[in-house]
């Protein structure tokens, strides 16, 4: 910063900038010169006007806000509020637990009864098949060959087919295989 001599007495460009920012940062002599010199004053005022106009235009060219600012009301909390919230939460949790537990137990019971019934049905079905096989162990294809699906095989016929010791004793010796002499 310097003040020029009488032939070149004006403030430097940076002094003008300093004056715009804060006039008191200039030296006393520079401040004095600024008061007396209309040319330097004009330079400063012109720059100040431009900057002021900059601010005015920015304000003018900014759109107006449409929204109303609402600051949410800060609710005053009762000291018992937290207890109430905790109690309510505990009550709700208890109800949920009870309902959930009851339904769980019911589901388990229903599940065991259902399983038992199914087991019984399967056992009955198995026994039916076993009984059928006891009655007639021949597969269906052999029954078809025989021509009768329901053979009435009574005890006498079975004895004839497979004689017991007693029945064998009642058969005459002549009727026995290999007893007749050729």
């Amino acid at each position: 910063m310097s003040i020029h001599n009488h032939s070149e007495p004006h403030l430097e460009e940076e002094d003008i900038l300093q004056a715009v920012i804060d006039n008191t940062d200039l030296s006393v002599l520079q401040q004095q010169h600024l008061v007396e010199c209309s040319q330097c004053r004009t330079r400063r005022e012109q720059l100040e006007q431009e900057l002021a106009r900059l601010g005015q235009l920015a304000e003018r060219y900014a759109p107006k806000p449409h929204k109303r600012i609402i600051v949410a009301e800060q609710k005053v909390r009762s000291p018992f509020l937290n207890w109430r919230i905790a109690f309510s939460a505990a009550a709700v949790a208890t109800v949920i637990l009870v309902v959930w537990g009851t339904s769980l137990i019911q589901n388990q019971q229903q599940g065991s009864i259902g399983n038992l019934a199914q087991d019984m049905v399967e056992a009955e079905r198995l026994m039916t098949q076993v009984n059928i096989l006891v009655e007639n162990a021949l597969p269906q294809v052999y029954l078809d060959i025989v021509g009768e699906t329901s053979l009435n095989l009574d005890e006498d016929f079975m004895d004839f087919l497979i004689p017991t010791n007693e029945s064998a004793a009642r058969i005459p010796a002549s009727a026995k295989k290999g007893s007749i002499l050729c």
Binding site: E13, E14, L17, Q18, V20, I21, D22, D25, L47, Q49, E50, L51, A52, R53, L54, G55, L57, A58, E59, Y61, A62, P63, K64, P65, H66, K67, R68, I69, I70, V71, A72, E73, Q74
Partner: protein, 207 residues
């Protein structure tokens, strides 16, 4: 609550009244805080708009600034610093917004420019076509000079000449010393002086 126009700080009575309102608001007086909103809403809204150039986002951020201020006004020790404190909240919110926008722009397609583009209004909505052209030209010029300034230069320049904060308020807002603010302001002004187009625009407007 109608947004207020720019207030002219400096009136002694007004400053005392504002300090009282701030004190009352910090004691929990909601009505006092609403009066403070009325008084500062326009300034804060514009301050945000100048930096993000999107009206609706600026409105949302303005609301957010006042909500944050309301929550923490009880911690404000010096009521006469309310204005710079409010601007400080706004500066931080704007920086957050721009940071998020920059991050989001990474995930957008490359043809979408992350730079701030002035919000344009359709001509059919704005009958004064010349005014619209001038407006767009003005914001373009502002965007051009903003790019030439460093972050701190830009911030002090805008706070001082667009937001009308004095040196002391600017220093408080940015939590810098006054001499630091003046240094950055000096550099910013030197660059502004070189912006012939913008200065010509302003000079034409003055004459």
């Amino acid at each position: 609550m109608t947004p207020s126009t720019h207030n002219a700080p400096g009136s002694q009575t007004s400053d005392i009244q504002l300090a009282q309102l701030v004190k009352q608001a910090s004691d929990g007086n909601r009505f006092a805080f609403e009066q403070l909103i009325d008084h500062h809403q326009g300034d804060i809204y514009r301050m945000i708009y100048y930096r993000i150039r999107a009206r609706m986002d600026a409105e949302d951020l303005t609301q957010d600034v006042f909500i944050r201020a309301f929550r923490s006004i009880s911690r404000l020790r010096e009521p006469d610093r309310f204005r710079s404190w409010l601007f400080r909240i706004a500066v931080n919110r704007v920086n957050d917004y721009l940071r998020k926008k920059r991050v989001r722009s990474i995930f957008k397609s490359s043809d979408e420019s992350p730079d701030i583009q002035p919000e344009t209004t359709h001509f059919q909505e704005q009958p004064e076509a010349l005014e619209q052209v001038l407006k767009e030209d003005f914001w373009r010029q502002i965007g051009r000079i903003a790019k030439k300034l460093s972050k701190m230069e830009r911030e002090v320049f805008m706070l001082r000449f667009l937001d009308h904060l004095n040196i002391n308020e600017t220093a408080q807002t940015l939590k810098k010393s006054e001499s630091t603010v003046k240094t950055h302001l000096y550099r910013a002004l030197a660059k502004f002086k070189k912006e012939k187009a913008l200065r010509q625009f302003l000079q034409e407007d003055i004459t």
